[in-house]
């Protein structure tokens, strides 16, 4: 870390104090939580911040708050902590699965859900699951608090909608219907420790007669940001999961893709896999909804 002697560290106890520090220092200040992306970027000298603001001292960033209506997850809650939270796991298994796919056990003990969102990788595993869940991102800033839907948070690779002085305090998962389920799947060329070539998150609610009441599908790693496949909602709503519906769903997922060609997958391959994973994720979410 080249300019390590110039670096300062602060660990405020309130969101207001974080906003004041961010506003005072500007873009050379970085929010620090798990450090699994930030410290790597500093190690590789991709960034040379002058101030690290550790948000783990702020209680609301470290809590999982479950109410009858919603679940609020602090931005600095780690993957390991999410995986150990039985209520969250039973209500939102897809989100927990997505977060637990990120890195090794060592990384899981540090990497946070807020960090995965703010790093804004198009391939971030938690993001399609959060979009499918209709999660909201809670942002504190100089003008108070605002909420942004998860699908609007990232605006490009490595870029977020955060304005100067703003940071993410928590993520809110909405109230679910009685019979609903979610799922996340990703394709990687090996079995562990890799970056998604395609990721698919799905959330499905069922009517009493077994038809789909509502559904949301989101894809990762096939566009500059994780994106919602809005057409999937119309295809599923009011229907059962028959071959015709699945074929239309796969087509909608294919059509939503605007991927890059790289060493991990060609455009053609990613597009095809997106359709396959979309159908599989919806089937798992559907089954979980049926089993509720």
């Amino acid at each position: 870390m080249g300019t390590v002697t110039e670096l300062k560290y602060e660990s405020p106890e309130t969101a207001q104090a974080v906003v004041a520090l961010l506003s005072g220092v500007g873009p050379m200040a970085r929010i620090f939580a798990g450090g699994t992306d930030l410290l790597v970027q500093m190690h590789e000298e991709l960034i040379e911040p002058t101030l690290l603001i550790d948000i783990k001292g702020i209680p609301e960033t470290r809590e999982i708050d479950v109410t009858a209506d919603e679940i609020r997850i602090g931005a600095a809650v780690t993957g390991a902590e999410l995986g150990e939270h039985q209520e969250l796991k039973s209500r939102w298994p897809g989100i927990v699965e997505a977060v637990e796919l990120i890195g090794s056990y060592q990384v899981q003990g540090r990497a946070t859900i807020g960090g995965n969102l703010c790093n804004a990788s198009p391939a971030a595993d938690s993001v399609p699951a959060l979009i499918a869940a209709a999660a909201k991102v809670i942002i504190a800033g100089p003008n108070g608090t605002r909420e942004v839907p998860a699908e609007e948070f990232s605006v490009g690779p490595g870029r977020t909608c955060l304005a100067a002085g703003e940071f993410v305090t928590s993520i809110v998962l909405p109230k679910q219907n009685q019979r609903s389920g979610d799922a996340y799947l990703r394709f990687i060329p090996r079995t562990e420790m890799d970056i998604a070539v395609v990721g698919a998150g799905a959330c499905v609610s069922l009517n009493d007669d077994g038809t789909c009441a509502s559904a949301r599908l989101a894809l990762g790693a096939v566009a500059p940001t994780a994106k919602r496949v809005a057409a999937a909602t119309d295809i599923l709503q009011g229907n059962r999961l028959d071959d015709g519906v699945l074929a239309a769903l796969a087509k909608a997922a294919n059509d939503a893709c605007a991927p890059i060609d790289d060493k991990r997958g060609t455009i053609e391959f990613r597009t095809k896999v997106a359709g396959v994973l979309a159908c599989r994720a919806v089937k798992i979410a559907w089954q979980r909804a049926e089993n509720r």
């Binding site: 300062k8 560290y9 410290l39 690290l52 060592q106 003990g109 562990e192 420790m193």
Partner: protein, 159 residues
Amino acid sequence: MPKHQITTTINGDEVDFGCHAGQTLLDVLRTELGMTGTKNGCGSGDCGACTVIVDGRPVNACLVLGVELQGAEIETIEGMAKGRTLHPLQQKFLDHAALQCGICTPGILNMAKALLEKNPDPTETEVRYGLAGNLCRCTGYDKIVRAVLDAAADMRANG
């Protein structure tokens, strides 16, 4: 540039150290405290050679800052044997010749210890997934996995 003064517990002993804001736990252990049992492999969380246990969780010491560890409990390889008695994992690594160059060994031992605390009776698959964040470039994985499974059996038998 002022150093931060941090008080922690390392391997059961209270340890104070000074560190700069950007100094990693890995650097604090090796440079400030002379505890070189924790190895520096990649410095970016990929290889697991620097795995230590902080407040009960295995972490890459290269991705933790010293400055955030006020009051933390840290376990390193130096605290694994009790006096001259090796930890069962250490003994089984010797018995199975589960190391060649040895650079990955301290990290793997710490990760395996954390794994067995959480799951005392893992399958081979669970051990392999559990150690997925620890690279051995001598590629002696089979012996490592056998040593961990054998140590787990030993630890279950001896309570």
